[in-house]
Symmetry: C2
C-alpha cells in the first residue's frame, strides 16, 4: 500500500504545482475518482471477474468494485468511500466490512460509505473557489474518454474536468521503485511461463494448449489471476495476424511441422502488466528462412535496447529497428537497393506495420503516450506508434520489433512501383508462408541507460536448447 | 450448426403457433436479433475476450462480435448480417471475410452486411401488418432487460417487443438431443477436471491453485476457453460464503489441515455451461463432523435425483432436500424436535439458504425459470429458487443441496425463539467452524426419470480414494 501512498503524494505535489503555475489557489479543492463497477454479461446475471479501473488502482490499490476515493489538496488527506451493501449479501459474498476496515486495509486517512460523499465533501469546503477535480480525458490508444466521478448531490459543487487527467496520466508515465518491483515480479513470472511453454510445445498440439500452459503457470506458480491481454498464440501463417487470438480467431489451429510459433502473452499482478513475445519453430529447429527473419528481428531488438537511454527519441528507435530489419532483408536478398531510400518511402512499414513499442504499466498500452501538444506522425508504421516521446528515466516501454509477411501488405507493395522496385519477388516468394517473427521485451529506462526486465531465451542457440528441454537459468531461481 | 438450425426451426414453429393462437397473421413478419458487441475495459483499449450473447448464440452459433441475425416467418429463411470492417484491420485481425463466408460457415440461407439490414428487411415486407419481432424482456435472475436489436432506419418498420422474448426463453428450457450432446461433453470435461483437482489438492496450497488446475485441465484437454462462472474455491470457513471467489474474496487463502474444500467450478463449451460442485477434506480424510454433514448433503442429493421425473414439482424437490438435511442434523444431535415442525418455520433455510438447483444451458442460470403467470414464493430458502416449475422431459437442471454453518444466519436463528428451540447449541458449536458442504450435479430429465451428466466421486470412500491418488473410472476414457 506504500506504493499507492507514494502515487497519491506524487499526484498531490503535481496538482498543487500545476495550480500554482496557473496562478490558482493550490490548496482549495478535492480530487475525486470513481472506481470500477461490477458488470453483468448482457441481460444475464453472469458477472465477469471484476478488474479495477487503472487510474483508481494507481491511487488507491482497491480490488473491490463500487468504491470512490478522494484526496484533499489542503491537507493531503486521503479518503475511501465503500458501497453500503445489504447485510443479507453476507451469505453470498462473505462478511460485509465497514468503512473502517477498508481504511485500515488500504491505509488511507479516512473511510466512509459512498452515500456519505456529499456530506464529507461539504465538510471539506473552505469557501472561495473551492473545486472538485474530476477525471475526464481521452485515452490516446482507444479514443475513449474516462468517466468522471458522479454521485448524488454533485451539482452543488464547483467542478473542474480539465486539470486532473493530464496530470494523473503523466504521473503514471514514470514508475517508482515500488512499481518497478511489481513490474519486475510479473515479468519474471511471465518469462518463466514462456520458457515452460517452449519446453512443452510440440508439432500436432493446438495453439491454445500453449495459451493454457502459460495461463496455468502464471496463476499456479505466480499467483497471477489475470493476464494483461488476450494471449496471442499464432502458428504458421497466423503469426502474420498481429492480434490473432481474439474470439474470431481463437488460437485453435493445429501446429504443423515447419510452423513458426509467435506467442505474445503476459501476466498481470496487482494490476501491473507484462507484455512479452517469443517466436520459435514448433519442431525445435530453425529453417534457413526462419533463421534469417529471426535474426533480423533479434538484431533490431538488440540495436534498440543498446541505444536506449534518457534523451533518445522513440521515433528514432522505431526507425532504427526498421533500418536493421530492412538491412537484414537486403542482406538475405529479399530486398535490393539503398536502405536509406527504402526508409524514405516507409518500406519498413510493409514488414513491421506496428510501432516498435509502447508504455507499459497498469494498462498494457499505458497512459501518457501523447501528452497535450504532441500528435501522431501520419506516416506508415510511425502512425501506429503509441508514443513519440523522448525517453526519460523511469519510463517502462516494450521493445517489440517484428518482421511479418502479410499478404495484403505485400500485394499492395508489389502493385506500388515505388515499393516494388526494392522487392526481389522470387526470393520473397520463399518467405511468404513463413508468417512472422516478433520479439518483445519490457525495458525500464535508468539514469544512463536501461534495464531489461524480460528474461527469455533470445539467441537462436538458447531458443533451440530450451525447445529441446534444456535448462534455462531463470527456471532455477523460481518466481 | 445443425444444432442451431434446429433451434431456429423450433422458434419459427412456436412463433407461428403463438401468432395463430392470438388470431394474428402467423407469416407476416421477421424475427430480428442483435448479437453481442466487443467491449473495451473502461477508457482503455483493453478488449476482454468476447463472448456471444446467449439468445443470439442459441439461434445462430456465431462466435464473432457485431452480428445481427433474422428469421423470416413466411419462408423460414435465415439471415446473418456481419459488420463491414475496415480492410486495414486485416493486418491486426486476419483476413476480413465477406458475408458469403459467414453464410457458409454458419449454414444460414443468406448473408449480408449489417448496413444492409434496412434494405433486406424492406424486401421482406409484404404489406398488411408486417412486423419486426424484437427481443425485449426481463431476465428473472438478474432483473436486467435484454437489448432489442437496433439499426439505422428501424423507425420505418412496425415492431413488436412483447411476443418474442417469452417464446424464445421457453424454447431454451427443453434441450434437444444435439444440445444434450454438448452439455454431456462439457460435463465430462469438467467432471474429469474436478477429479484432477482432487488428486493434486494438498494442505498448504492456496485455494487458487485448485482453480488454476481446473482451468488448465478443461482448456488443455477439453478445449474449453471459457468457464461458466468465476470458480469458487473455498476452504475452511470460506466454504460457507456461497459466492466466494469473486474479486473481493479471490480464492487466496492457504488451505489448512482440517479444512473442508468446497469447489464450485464448471467449464463452458460452445457457450454451453456446466456447473459442478465437489466438497472434500483437504487433508484427504473426513473427520466425524465432516462426514456427518457430507452424508447429509449426499443423501439429500440422492433423494432428489431418485425422485426426479417429469411431473414432479421443483419446489417439492427443494423441500425434499431440506427435509433430508434436517433429518440428518437431528440424527447427529445438532437439532431436536419434529422435522415437520422445522419445515413449517423454514428452518432448512438457515442451513441451505440457496435454492436446490436451477436450469442450465447457454447461461449457468438458464432462462425460463419463471414464465409469465408464475412468481417467486416469498419464504426463506424458497425465495432463492431460480425456478418453481413442474419438471418436464428435456429440462436440464442442477441438483445442488448444501449444508452450511453461516455465522450471521446461525446467530439470527439462535436469537429467534421459534428457531432456537430446535437448535442444540453445544452440539452445534462443534460444527460452527466447518464451513459448508455442497454437492452439485447436472441432471437432464428423460421421459420417465432423469440422467445424471456429472461423473464425479460422490461416496465418501470414492472421494477418499481419489484424494489418495486412486484411479477414477472416467479418467480412463478421456474427454
Ligand atoms: Mn506489446
Ligand atoms: Mn449452480
Amino acid at each position: 500500500m506504500a506504493l499507492h501512498a507514494q502515487n497519491r503524494q506524487k499526484l498531490l505535489d503535481r496538482m498543487r504545482a500545476q495550480l500554482e503555475a496557473a496562478g490558482r489557489d493550490s490548496t482549495n479543492g478535492v480530487i475525486l475518482l470513481q472506481g470500477g463497477e461490477e458488470q453483468t454479461r448482457y441481460c444475464s446475471d453472469h458477472v465477469p471477474l471484476f478488474r479495477q479501473e487503472s487510474y483508481f488502482m494507481y491511487l488507491f490499490g482497491v480490488k473491490e468494485p463500487g468504491f470512490f476515493g478522494a484526496l484533499e489538496l489542503y491537507t493531503g488527506k486521503s479518503f475511501l468511500f465503500c458501497p453500503r451493501l445489504n447485510p443479507e449479501y453476507a451469505v453470498w459474498l462473505g462478511k460485509i466490512q465497514p468503512p473502517s476496515y477498508f481504511k485500515e486495509l488500504y491505509e488511507v486517512d479516512s473511510g466512509h460509505y459512498v452515500d456519505e460523499i456529499h456530506e464529507v465533501l461539504k465538510d471539506s469546503q473552505r469557501g472561495g473557489d473551492w473545486t472538485l477535480y474530476l477525471l475526464h480525458g481521452q485515452n490516446t490508444d482507444s479514443g475513449n474518454f474516462s468517466k468522471p466521478a458522479s454521485f448524488e448531490g454533485m451539482e452543488m459543487f464547483n467542478t473542474d474536468l480539465e486539470l486532473l487527467h493530464p496530470v494523473l496520466s503523466e504521473c503514471r508515465v514514470h514508475k517508482s521503485k515500488l512499481e518497478l518491483d511489481v513490474l519486475r515480479y510479473v515479468n519474471n513470472v511471465s518469462s518463466e511461463a514462456h520458457v515452460q511453454v517452449m519446453r512443452i510445445a510440440k508439432v500436432g498440439m493446438k495453439e491454445y494448449q500453449l495459451e493454457s500452459t502459460f495461463l496455468h503457470h502464471v496463476y499456479m506458480y505466480g499467483g497471477c489471476r489475470y493476464c494483461s491481454y488476450t494471449c496471442i498464440c499464432a502458428a504458421g501463417e497466423n503469426s502474420s495476424t498481429l492480434h490473432y487470438g481474439h474470439a474470431a480467431a481463437p488460437n485453435d489451429k493445429v501446429m504443423l511441422d515447419g510452423d513458426m510459433a509467435l506467442l505474445d502473452m503476459g501476466a498481470e499482478y496487482h494490476c501491473y502488466s507484462s507484455d512479452i513475445t517469443c517466436s520459435f519453430p514448433v519442431n525445435g529447429k530453425f529453417t534457413e528462412e526462419q533463421r534469417i527473419v529471426y535474426e533480423a528481428v533479434l538484431d533490431a531488438q538488440k540495436a534498440v535496447i543498446g541505444a536506449m537511454r534518457p534523451g533518445v527519441s522513440w521515433v528514432d528507435m522505431h526507425k532504427l529497428a526498421e533500418q536493421q530489419i530492412l538491412q537484414a532483408l537486403k542482406h538475405a536478398g529479399i530486398l535490393r537497393g539503398d536502405v536509406e531510400a527504402m526508409m524514405e518511402i516507409r518500406l519498413g512499414a510493409v514488414f513491421m506495420p506496428h510501432g516498435v513499442g509502447h508504455f507499459l504499466g497498469l494498462d498494457t498500452h499505458d497512459t501518457g503516450g501523447y501528452p497535450k501538444g504532441t500528435s501522431r506522425i501520419l506516416e506508415p508504421g510511425l502512425k501506429s506508434l503509441r508514443t513519440i516521446r523522448i525517453l526519460e528515466e523511469g519510463m517502462v516501454i516494450t521493445v517489440e520489433p517484428g518482421c511479418y509477411f502479410i499478404e495484403p501488405l505485400l500485394e499492395e507493395a508489389l502493385q506500388d512501383p515505388a515499393k516494388s522496385e526494392f522487392l526481389v519477388k522470387q526470393v520473397l516468394a520463399k518467405f511468404r508462408r513463413l508468417g512472422g517473427v516478433r520479439l518483445e521485451d519490457n525495458v525500464v529506462l535508468t539514469a544512463d541507460g536501461c534495464e531489461n526486465l524480460t528474461k527469455c531465451p533470445r539467441e537462436i542457440q538458447e531458443v533451440e536448447a530450451v525447445l529441446a528441454g534444456g535448462a534455462w537459468p531463470l527456471s532455477k531461481k523460481g518466481a
